[in-house]
Subunit: 381 residues, 3 copies
Amino acid sequence: MFKRSLTTVLLTALAIIVPAGTASAAGLSEQTTQLFQYHRGQDVALMLMLVAFLMMFIRRYEWGVALATLLVLVTSWPLYLIIHTGLLGNGLNIDALILAFFCSITLVIAIGVFLGHISTIHYLLAAVLFVPAYMVNEWFLFTYLDGVLDAGGSILVHMFAAYWGWGVILALRNLRVKDEPVQTSVHSVSFVWLASMLLFVLWPSFVTALLPPEQIIPAMINCYLALMASTLVTYLLLYALKRTIDPLVYTYALLAGGVAIGATVDLATPWQSWLIGLFGGVVSTLSFVYLHDWLLARTGVLDTMGVHNLHGVPGILGGLAPLAIAGASWSQLAAIAGTFALALATGFITGLVLRLFKPPAIMLDDAESFPVEDMRATEPA
Amino acid sequence: MFKRSLTTVLLTALAIIVPAGTASAAGLSEQTTQLFQYHRGQDVALMLMLVAFLMMFIRRYEWGVALATLLVLVTSWPLYLIIHTGLLGNGLNIDALILAFFCSITLVIAIGVFLGHISTIHYLLAAVLFVPAYMVNEWFLFTYLDGVLDAGGSILVHMFAAYWGWGVILALRNLRVKDEPVQTSVHSVSFVWLASMLLFVLWPSFVTALLPPEQIIPAMINCYLALMASTLVTYLLLYALKRTIDPLVYTYALLAGGVAIGATVDLATPWQSWLIGLFGGVVSTLSFVYLHDWLLARTGVLDTMGVHNLHGVPGILGGLAPLAIAGASWSQLAAIAGTFALALATGFITGLVLRLFKPPAIMLDDAESFPVEDMRATEPA
Amino acid sequence: MFKRSLTTVLLTALAIIVPAGTASAAGLSEQTTQLFQYHRGQDVALMLMLVAFLMMFIRRYEWGVALATLLVLVTSWPLYLIIHTGLLGNGLNIDALILAFFCSITLVIAIGVFLGHISTIHYLLAAVLFVPAYMVNEWFLFTYLDGVLDAGGSILVHMFAAYWGWGVILALRNLRVKDEPVQTSVHSVSFVWLASMLLFVLWPSFVTALLPPEQIIPAMINCYLALMASTLVTYLLLYALKRTIDPLVYTYALLAGGVAIGATVDLATPWQSWLIGLFGGVVSTLSFVYLHDWLLARTGVLDTMGVHNLHGVPGILGGLAPLAIAGASWSQLAAIAGTFALALATGFITGLVLRLFKPPAIMLDDAESFPVEDMRATEPA
């Protein structure tokens, strides 16, 4: 993604030199291209906020999720930009803004693994430790390696989020979280439906945010086809397996098509996109239904929001897809293996640092940060 | 709409042949025009999801509405594209994507008539039967007939949705639904307010999605003026009639201006738009307050979400508006009558097919699809 | 803002005369520029609706806030356009549409001061009285005065809203409102989180809505930096002062960076923007924590939504910022002082008029407008 965005930057630098009227073979001036990115960049930011609402199903732990999301956003986004542009100097443009939101949304996904495991104020520290790790992986994928295909972030965003988060909980080993009661309410889950359905619609802006103009519409169609397939197959599979639809599996796994299509959104045919989404939905559903409990039993630590099931496994699947359909080179495998190792390792170090602090007295509960006593006394839900 | 979009397609085909610098009289290249459609297309998809939240006022039946919406979307959208483009081949572009979302949003509106009447899994079948019927009507309006005015879908979308849905319930005759208790809660209705207010704002993207660039801003202004008028008059009329505002009438009928302006959004003056919206609000409010119960008594079947009151009657009004202000030909009347007949007939056939299956054991209740027992045991709402 | 938008209008008028190919130094035709404004204009309308949800924390008074918002919107928006364009004649373009939404969003913010103080139907009257007052202040800032810097509305929108609203309650003197019980529920406050987080993301569209194309991306980055700073510092300050986070301070004050950056969003450096946001967050938080109760004690009247704390004080701060960083002239001080006086005076007159009518029998309660008895009987929340 970064690599191709570099190409874009070079092409547009060229476009500035060439007279405006002939700026782009496709007929778009550099400024037009950048202004088209304005709204896709904003959509990525909207998605980041909606990820918080996707994670608000625990009825006693909603505001804490929103707060943690905001804290890691406002720490990581400026920090990424400061490093990326040399103290907010050269290159502070729309591409940089979007790359910074990619970094922050990866972190927001990642904290889903350990929400409730640490005190709220320590998310600030987690964010400071996350940004350099993410940027090293970005460099590894698109500068160190050559020819890695990942325009829509299957590897860079989703895989890295899941395994960095898992690195944190493996080091942190806060075993008490999994014994906390997790109850939902109608509307805590209705917020999840809202978030999931809006994320579905906005997803094309995420995977096309850094694509050149002529690839945007085809990629948009591919992205929607993948999401349609995962939304359909997740329902059919849950129905076949259980005859009932767990809303906390369905609202998550339906998005797996968007995760899985990330690496091939600009390369796949429409039918291939639909199939990649289909496989994404299948592996995500199976991960939620079977793998989640198995991992919990094996490791003893709880992936609070099941990030591994939506972002980890479908992210790997998406990263592998270019091997099947786009003749990707070995660097694609190196990208997947390297991201897995780097994310786990840097997450583990972060977890060790976070372990220096006392775990929160109250877990998975808004009472950790907010004065909720009066309200709870007068309202049952 | 389709017809005019065909004109657009032809014009843009021309634009591709003519050198880019002079591509469009208005100064926009074909690619720029298409990229401007990206976000309006996405807005239509957002509206489709929000229609689900508009229908979530029954406090025990929220997730089921979201699930049905998603299932008909992910079946109808690819199916429309497969037929429209010959197995996802030629013409898979932004216009096709938007036309497919028009088909799907029409279906999402239509299922509002019979939500709760059928088992969830049968929405998949309903979607498969809907798409060809919708496409025949699309052909009837814009290929068979000549000169039909309906840029914003008063006839194609709103009328067809209402009468196809009514065709289904008339054939299905599931009489038990109307005896189910329908209770609301503060927040089930607050989600409806959210959906209605966001639909208000997004509506211009729906009615301008296929308009040529120079008509977009004037149509946006017309659309907002119509919605402002219906929102105002609905309040005044409800206040005059009842001295109290039923939120489940108000949040729906306020949108009637958007339905009614559909056929003339590119033709009306600003004042005409405001008046069309005003009449839309009046007929919708009166339909909710009086016609709804009368139809229920006469037919014995329940239009669950009152689709006829927001989309049926204001859709007809909107379809007639070009006769008054734009000198429409007789084909406009043929369009309205033909859509009425075609929608009812194809809906009726769909209802007969759906009647072959057992009605759901539990109606208007999330328990039909989801495991809600534990949650309901611990939470009153 | 208006002034600079006038410049834009003049430049674009020029662009129409000059052949399209060379229309703009930056390579954008007038039509492209206008179509880019389409979505920013729509975003401003979305923000207006979300302001309603920001004010929905009182669990028995949610729908009433939405209704009041809609009523003042649908009265003020057409009225502004009618006056601005001479009965919807010349100049009814995207700039006018956005200026009208600025007027309406200012009013929606302003009614936050006196929500619950008046009967619902009187919001229509308040809107009719507001529009001319707002337009006089707009004329004062950008036609009478010369060189006022306020591209993003710190003075025009936020200051005017707060002091006009305060003018109303000072004249109205409905002292009973402050004795009404104000209880929240989990989800009434979760809607506030949703609104606040989406407003954060959409804010750049508000402050760039009327900027020329080449300033949009830098201003977007400045706006996000300011919001990141206020969101961070508000948390740290609340934590330092109280060790607990009042969600009804936090979700509001985090937006103060957006308010404060308004006047300098197109002039500040990125670091200056971050610092302005930081100061905005500090003064807003301190206003919520200390000033709010002091003003209530001194004046005896309740600013229902704490508008002064988010829009009044940070608005003044934002208005002063150009003096520090952009070498603003004395007219900047005249703009702030004049807006303060004009808003208070016209608000006071409005309050005197509204005082002619009986205060509502039920305050801060949806029962004032809606039939809620049945629902409340069956649902505790």
